[in-house]
C-alpha cells in the first residue's frame, strides 16, 4: 500500500489546475482499455463472418470459419481483464445472481452469455457438425474422441441433415448480427451513458464503438488470414484480400466520419466542458489522439487502401499494402480505446484541471498482465484451429459430407 501512496503522491505533484482531491487516481486503467479492444475484435470478426452467410459475399468465404473461431477465442478472454481489475473478483458472480437491473454493467453477464452460448458456440457447432462427424470417423486416439464429443451424439450426415445445419447457421447469423451490435454497442453504452463525464457522455459513443469494432475485426481477420496462409505455404486468395481491403476502407471512412461528427458537434455546441477538453486534447492526448489514432491509425490506412484500390499494383505489393494498413488499423483502434477510457479520467469533473495516468510494467494491472491478456486469445485460437481446422483442404473427403459451405 505504501508503494501505491508513493505513486499517488508523485501523480499529485504533476496535477495541473484544480482537481477534486479524490480524483487523483485513474480508476480504470490498462485492463479496462483492453476490454473494449477485445470485445470490439469479437464483434467485428463476427460481422465479417456474417458477410459471407447473410450477404453472400462469396469472395470472403475463405475467412468465414477463421473469423468465427477468432471471435470465439477473443470472446473467451474478454471477461478476464474485467475480472482481474475488480477489487473483489471473488464476488463477481453477484452480477449474475443479484444483478441490479438499472445498471448497464449488470447486463454484462446476460449479453455475454447470450453471445457465447446462443450465437457463437451454436453457430460453430452447426457449421462444423458434418465435418466433425467425418473427422471422427477417420481419426484415432484423442482427436477421434474429441471430435466424437463435439458432435454431441448428432451424427446424421444425410443431405437433409446437412441442409438443416446450413439453414440453422444462416438463422443464427441473422440473430448474431444484432447480437454483435448489442455486445459492442453495450460496451459503448457503459461509457456513453455516464452523464457525469463530458468526454464519455455522448449518444454517438456506442455507434462509434460499433464501427471501430467492425474496422478492427476486419483488419484482424485479414492479418490472420494472411499469416495463416503463409504458414501453411499457400497463396492467400487475392480476390478475398481485395474484398477485405475494400470493406476495411469503407468502414474506416464511416468510422472517421462519425468521429469527425462527434468532434464537430462538441466544438459547435461548445458547452462548459469545451475548455478543459480542448486542453486535454492539446496536451495529454496529443500524441495518442492526434498522432497515433488520427494520423497513423486512421488517415494512414485510408491513404494506403485508397492508393492500392485506385492503382494496378502487382499482387505481391497489394498484399503487403493490405497487411501494413491492417496493422496500422490495429494500432489506431487500440489508441482509440485508450483515448476513450484513459482520456475520460485525465480531467477533473470540476473542469478546472488535469491529472496524469501512469501505467506500470509489473503489478496486477500492469503492462505484462495486459500483454498476457492480448496474447492469450491467439493461444486459444491456435488450439481451436488445431481441433477445428477452418481450411478448405482440411475437410473430410467422405461423399455427402464435404463442401457444405463451398457448394452454396
Amino acid at each position: 500500500m505504501e508503494e501505491h501512496f508513493e505513486k499517488l503522491a508523485s501523480i499529485l505533484s504533476q496535477v495541473t489546475g484544480f482537481i477534486y482531491p479524490n480524483e487523483l487516481e485513474a480508476h480504470w486503467g490498462l485492463l479496462i482499455v483492453i476490454y473494449p479492444y477485445i470485445t470490439g475484435l469479437v464483434a467485428g470478426a463476427f460481422i465479417l463472418a456474417s458477410l459471407e452467410k447473410v450477404f453472400r459475399v462469396k469472395e470472403v468465404e475463405p475467412t468465414y470459419r477463421l473469423a468465427l473461431l477468432t471471435a470465439l477465442a477473443f470472446l473467451i478472454v474478454a471477461p478476464l481483464p474485467l475480472l482481474a481489475h475488480l477489487g473483489h473478483p471473488e464476488r463477481s458472480f453477484e452480477i449474475f445472481l443479484t444483478p441490479h437491473l438499472q445498471s448497464a454493467m449488470a447486463m454484462f453477464g446476460f449479453v455475454y452469455a447470450w453471445y457465447l452460448m446462443v450465437v457463437l458456440l451454436l453457430e460453430i457447432w452447426f457449421e462444423y457438425r458434418a465435418d466433425v462427424v467425418g473427422w471422427s470417423r477417420q481419426e484415432r486416439g484423442l482427436r477421434k474422441w474429441l471430435h466424437w464429443v463435439f458432435t454431441l451424439g448428432s451424427r446424421d450426415v444425410s443431405p437433409e441433415a446437412v441442409a438443416f445445419d446450413r439453414k440453422a447457421v444462416r438463422t443464427i447469423t441473422l440473430i448474431g448480427i444484432p447480437s454483435a451490435f448489442i455486445l459492442h454497442g453495450y460496451v459503448g453504452f457503459i461509457f456513453g451513458s455516464i452523464k457525469a463525464n463530458p468526454w464519455w457522455s455522448s449518444v454517438l459513443i456506442p455507434i462509434v464503438f460499433l464501427f471501430s469494432a467492425i474496422v478492427s475485426g476486419i483488419s484482424l481477420v485479414l492479418l490472420l488470414y494472411y499469416v495463416t496462409s503463409l504458414v501453411r505455404g499457400r497463396a492467400p486468395s487475392m480476390q478475398c484480400l481485395d474484398k477485405l481491403g475494400g470493406f476495411l476502407l469503407y468502414t474506416l471512412i464511416l468510422d472517421l466520419s462519425l468521429e469527425v461528427l462527434d468532434f464537430t458537434h462538441r466544438l459547435y455546441e461548445s458547452e462548459e466542458s469545451i475548455h478543459i477538453l480542448s486542453e486535454l486534447i492539446y496536451s495529454k492526448l496529443f500524441m495518442s489522439l492526434t498522432i497515433v489514432q488520427l494520423l497513423i491509425g486512421t488517415l494512414g490506412p485510408i491513404l494506403v487502401l485508397a492508393l492500392v484500390r485506385s492503382s494496378t499494383l502487382p499482387d505481391e505489393l497489394r498484399r503487403v499494402a493490405y497487411v501494413i494498413a491492417a496493422m496500422l488499423v490495429q494500432v489506431g483502434i487500440f489508441s482509440t480505446r485508450w483515448n476513450v477510457v484513459i482520456g475520460g479520467q485525465l480531467f477533473s469533473k470540476s473542469l478546472r484541471g488535469l491529472t496524469v495516468y501512469k501505467v506500470e510494467i509489473g503489478g496486477a494491472e500492469g503492462v505484462l498482465v495486459g500483454l498476457a491478456f492480448l496474447i492469450l486469445p491467439f493461444l486459444i485460437l491456435y488450439a481451436l484451429v488445431k481441433i477445428l481446422p477452418p481450411w478448405e483442404e482440411a475437410r473430410p473427403v467422405e461423399a455427402g459430407v464435404s463442401g457444405m459451405t463451398a457448394t452454396k
Binding site: L12, N22, G87, Q102, S103, K195, A196
Partner: protein, 255 residues
C-alpha cells in the same frame, strides 16, 4: 407519515403468516446498516429524510470538519481520500479564478501572498450530495450502493465488488476506492451517529455553523429554517441528480 402505523400493523400481521419472511424481503429489503440502527432503537429508520445545508458565507476554511470526518470514520490520512473536503476559490480582478484544496483543507489554508488583485474569495465545503436521483446507485451492477429509506446513499462494503463504476458516475468526485478494503467508500452523513439522534461529525465540529444537518421532513428544524430564509443552490443542477446538500450564497464559479 400518517400511513406508517397502518403499514406497520400490516407487516405485523404478515409476519404471522407462513413464508412471510420471504415476502417481507421481497417487499423491502432491510439493509444491515438499517437493521443494526433499528436494533439499537434510537431512531426509527424511514421516519426521516436527511439532508444538509451549507452556508458558504459562514465557512472560514479552518478544516475542522475534514479532521473530524477523518477521525470519526477512520478515513485514510493520505491526501487522496476524503469523505468531505473544503475548497478555496479566489477570483482575481482580471476574472481569473484559482481553486485549491491542499490536503482537502484539513490544516486550513495559507493566506495568499498578494491580496490587492483579489476581487472576492470564499471557501466551499464539499461532501457526497446524497442525491435523490443518485447516478452512483443507478450504475452499481450488484446493488451494493443504495439509497436508504431515510435518503442516505450508502455502500454495503460486504457486497461491493470493487468495479469502480460508481466512482466514474459520481459527478462530484465524492467517492474513492479504499485501498485497505478494495471497495468504494464515501460520506454516510455519519449514519452510525444520525440514527442515534447525534449530528454528523463534520457538523458537530464546525465552529461557525456553516453546516446544518437535519430532517427534510421536519417542519421546524434549523435545516428547514435555513432553507426558508436563504436562496438555495445545488451543485451541477443541470445533471438532474437532485442533491440533498443545499448551498446558500453559492458563487457561479463553484462546480
Amino acid at each position: 407519515m400518517e400511513e406508517t402505523p397502518a403499514r406497520r400493523e400490516f407487516l405485523v400481521e404478515l409476519l404471522k403468516l407462513p413464508c412471510s419472511a420471504a415476502l417481507v424481503s421481497v417487499l423491502g429489503p432491510v439493509t444491515d446498516a438499517e437493521a443494526s440502527a433499528a436494533k439499537e432503537g434510537a431512531e426509527a429508520v424511514g421516519e426521516h429524510y436527511y439532508g444538509m445545508g451549507i452556508q458558504v458565507d459562514k465557512c472560514i476554511g479552518c478544516g475542522r470538519c475534514v479532521e473530524a470526518c477523518k477521525s470519526e470514520n477512520d478515513v485514510l490520512r493520505e491526501p487522496f481520500y476524503f469523505r468531505t473536503w473544503v475548497e478555496r476559490y479566489v477570483v482575481h480582478s482580471d476574472g481569473k479564478v484559482t481553486v485549491d484544496s491542499p490536503n482537502g483543507g484539513i490544516q486550513g489554508f495559507e493566506a495568499p501572498e498578494e491580496e490587492r488583485d483579489i476581487l472576492r474569495s470564499f471557501f466551499v465545503p464539499k461532501l457526497c450530495n446524497h442525491c435523490d436521483r443518485p447516478p452512483c446507485v443507478q450504475v452499481c451492477p450488484v446493488g451494493a450502493t443504495f439509497k436508504s429509506r431515510d435518503g442516505v446513499v450508502l455502500v454495503d462494503a460486504d457486497y461491493c465488488i470493487g468495479c469502480r463504476y460508481c466512482i466514474q458516475a459520481c459527478p462530484y468526485g465524492a467517492r474513492y476506492l479504499d485501498p485497505r478494503t478494495k471497495v468504494a467508500d464515501k460520506c454516510t452523513f455519519c449514519y452510525h451517529r444520525i440514527t442515534k439522534g447525534l449530528l454528523p461529525a463534520c457538523v458537530e465540529a464546525c465552529p461557525t455553523q456553516a453546516r446544518i444537518f437535519g430532517d427534510l421532513k421536519a417542519m421546524s428544524s434549523p435545516l428547514r429554517r435555513m432553507m426558508r430564509m436563504s436562496s438555495l443552490q445545488v451543485l451541477k443542477p443541470a445533471l438532474n441528480t437532485e442533491p440533498k446538500v443545499f448551498y446558500s450564497t453559492l458563487d457561479k464559479e463553484v462546480r
